[in-house]
């Protein structure tokens, strides 16, 4: 298990304190700064490792940043705190985005990111809770995170802990049947402490989602399954913050975050081939300049 980074936790806390009392404009600036830092880490990690899923990492970055910097009730110095909010990255292949976010929260030293996918690194291509503080469950095969999140949400109800659960899924992942089992269960159990976030970048590994096994109208499908649906621009920090507010209807909340795969790097944005293509050294340099 990796050790926490005490100095980084202190920095995360002070930023969080500032964030909590800041006006909206300043909040958005704080999140934009952190997201830029995370995107730069992602590009460096994947270029160094020669592997990774850069398109989805960049599309989900603003969602992860908003949750960890502004929403989740967590204590990185005590990752096992029983009353913590739970965060589950169901699209586990976007591990680089998660690892960068966790390092910037202080769960482990940022220098650890240099080991991404190296032999015996804790930072596997998919997250492992037994090695990385802040990871709640091991993901990688798709369609696993939401059922586990239903379980943590039920536990919070049974123990009256007040903890919330957030599960982030890829949109292509919504083709997995297990997710629809979990959608039924979440609504039936009235889990108003559960929020799922669909990273709706409209691209999956091989093609556009709508050319593969269409999801639309996703909002109507989720609503008909008994969820409170909030559809937003997944790169608009204030909209994300608003969408992550607690349920107002007693139903679980489904956020459809419309995103751009590869967001922030012009030659990667919205291009299917960049699902897991690796930037050359020159391309990585160009990407870092665009993200400066």
């Amino acid at each position: 298990m990796l050790d926490s980074d005490v100095a980084r936790i202190a920095s995360w806390r002070s930023t969080r304190d500032e964030f909590d009392s800041a006006p909206a404009k300043r909040r958005a600036e704080i999140l934009a700064d952190r997201a830029r830092e995370t995107r730069r880490s992602i590009v460096r990690m994947i270029a160094a490792a020669g592997q990774g899923h850069i398109g989805g990492d960049l599309s989900v970055t603003d969602i992860l940043t908003t949750l960890f910097a502004g929403v989740l009730r967590i204590d990185p110095s005590n990752p096992d705190w029983a009353g913590r909010d739970r965060f589950i990255l169901s699209k586990g292949h976007c591990a680089a985005a998660l690892y960068s976010t966790l390092a910037h929260t202080g769960y482990f030293a940022e220098s650890e990111l240099d080991t991404f996918m190296q032999p015996l690194s804790a930072l596997n291509g998919h997250p492992n809770r037994n090695k990385i503080p802040g990871v709640e469950t091991n993901t990688g095969p798709l369609g696993h995170g939401m059922p586990v999140g239903v379980g943590t949400a039920i536990a919070a109800k049974l123990t009256k802990s007040g903890a919330r659960t957030f599960v982030v899924l890829g949109d292509g992942e919504m083709q997995e049947g297990s997710n629809w089992e979990a959608l039924m269960a979440g609504a039936h159990q009235k889990l108003d402490n559960l929020t799922i976030v669909v990273d709706r970048n409209r691209l999956q590994q091989g093609a556009r989602t709508e050319d593969t096994n269409g999801l639309d109208p996703l909002d109507e499908k989720l609503a008909s399954f008994g969820w409170e649906v909030r559809e937003i621009d997944g790169h608009d920090y204030l909209a994300l913050l608003d969408a992550f507010s607690p349920s107002t209807t007693g139903k679980p909340v489904a956020v459809i975050a419309n995103t751009l795969k590869g967001k922030g790097v012009s030659f990667i944005e919205d291009r299917v081939e960049w699902h897991h293509k690796v930037p050359s050294a020159e391309q990585a340099q160009t990407a870092l300049e665009e993200l400066a």
Binding site: R86, T139, H144, L158, S178
Partner: protein
């Protein structure tokens, strides 16, 4: 003793399972049950009536059921995830692998009515692959209680264990085979009979048949050791090695497919021992989908009776 085991009263282990679960839940609020519309077949009616909030019936959705169990465990609960064994292991195998074994969420997977307990309902409802599938998952204990006492012991052990487990909870009625004071140790076979000529390693429904076989062998002057493989994982390597070195022949018997089950596990140990200890081995189980028939009919059809064990033991010891 011969008369005792073949004429002893027999019991459905799901009853002991339910009684023990209710008893433990009385003092431990972390215990919850999760099931797939199997309140009746998992014998959870009594639990539900006493603890309605702690019975989570997810409907006919096994993948969701196992994932929910993992989430409950990760949040500090002790979930008993109960479903007919074929659907719990087959339909949810990836959840058992990723969410339970690999994640090490402390879920207690209860495979109800395993083996060929569903008799005439056929191979879709038989769970004879579970031992093979789950043996390939590191970090998951595999427990096959042989009687009422071991069913209770297995449940208590699972609650106290820091790691996840899969427990076969038998429906096909079996007699009590273990003495009341028998220890139940993780990763250890239970010693039922000592013997010098051959060792019979049996699991679950086959244990009482192994005892009957040992009695029949004794009448013919063959001294058979009987081991009850209540833990398939972790495997009791010491007991297997001792059996090979001390008795010189081994028979395994299981209500499961022989491709990867108990017999295969024993063979993997014995075949790698030193010269002189790579002893004759007979593996009794099944290797094909069952035809139509009751559980007892199928056990006989696949050569899993006391008489079949006797024959295999004689073969292994060179007496045939």
């Amino acid at each position: 003793m011969t008369a005792a085991i073949t004429e002893a009263p027999v019991y459905d282990n799901r009853i002991a399972f339910a009684e023990e679960l209710i008893e433990l839940a009385r003092t431990d609020e972390r215990i919850v049950a999760v099931c797939n519309d199997s309140v009746g077949s998992s014998n959870l009616t009594g639990f539900r009536d006493l603890y309605p909030d702690r019975l989570i019936n997810v409907g006919i959705a096994e993948q969701d059921m196992v994932g929910i169990g993992a989430g409950l465990a990760s949040a500090g609960m002790i979930p008993f995830v109960c479903a007919a064994a074929p659907f719990l292991t087959g339909r949810s195998l990836e959840q058992v692998k990723a969410d339970v074994a690999y994640s090490q969420h402390n879920v207690i997977l209860c495979g109800m009515s395993p083996g060929m307990a569903y008799g005439e309902l056929g191979p879709t409802h038989h769970s004879v692959e579970d031992l093979s599938w789950l043996r390939a998952l590191p970090g998951l204990d595999i427990v096959v209680p042989a009687d009422r006492l071991q069913t209770r012991q297995a449940i208590r052990a699972a609650v106290e264990s820091p790691r996840p487990s899969f427990i076969r909870v038998g429906r096909h009625k079996v007699p009590d085979v273990m003495p009341d004071d028998a220890p139940f140790e993780r990763g250890r076979f239970g010693a039922i009979r000592d013997g010098n000529d051959v060792t019979i390693i049996a699991t679950g429904t086959l244990v009482s048949r192994a005892i009957a076989a040992a009695d029949a062998l004794a009448a013919e002057g063959v001294s058979a050791r009987v081991l009850n493989a209540a833990y398939i994982a972790p495997l009791d390597v010491t007991a297997i090695t001792d059996a090979a070195r001390q008795t010189g022949a081994i028979v395994t018997a299981e209500e499961a497919n022989i491709a990867g089950g108990l017999g295969a596990a024993v063979a993997s140990i014995v075949s790698q021992l030193e010269d002189g200890a790579r002893v004759p081995l007979r593996i009794l189980g099944l290797a094909e989908f069952a035809p139509t028939g009751s559980t007892d009919f199928l056990l006989e059809y696949f050569g899993l009776t006391a008489g079949d064990i006797v024959r295999a033991a004689k073969e292994a010891t060179g007496r045939v």
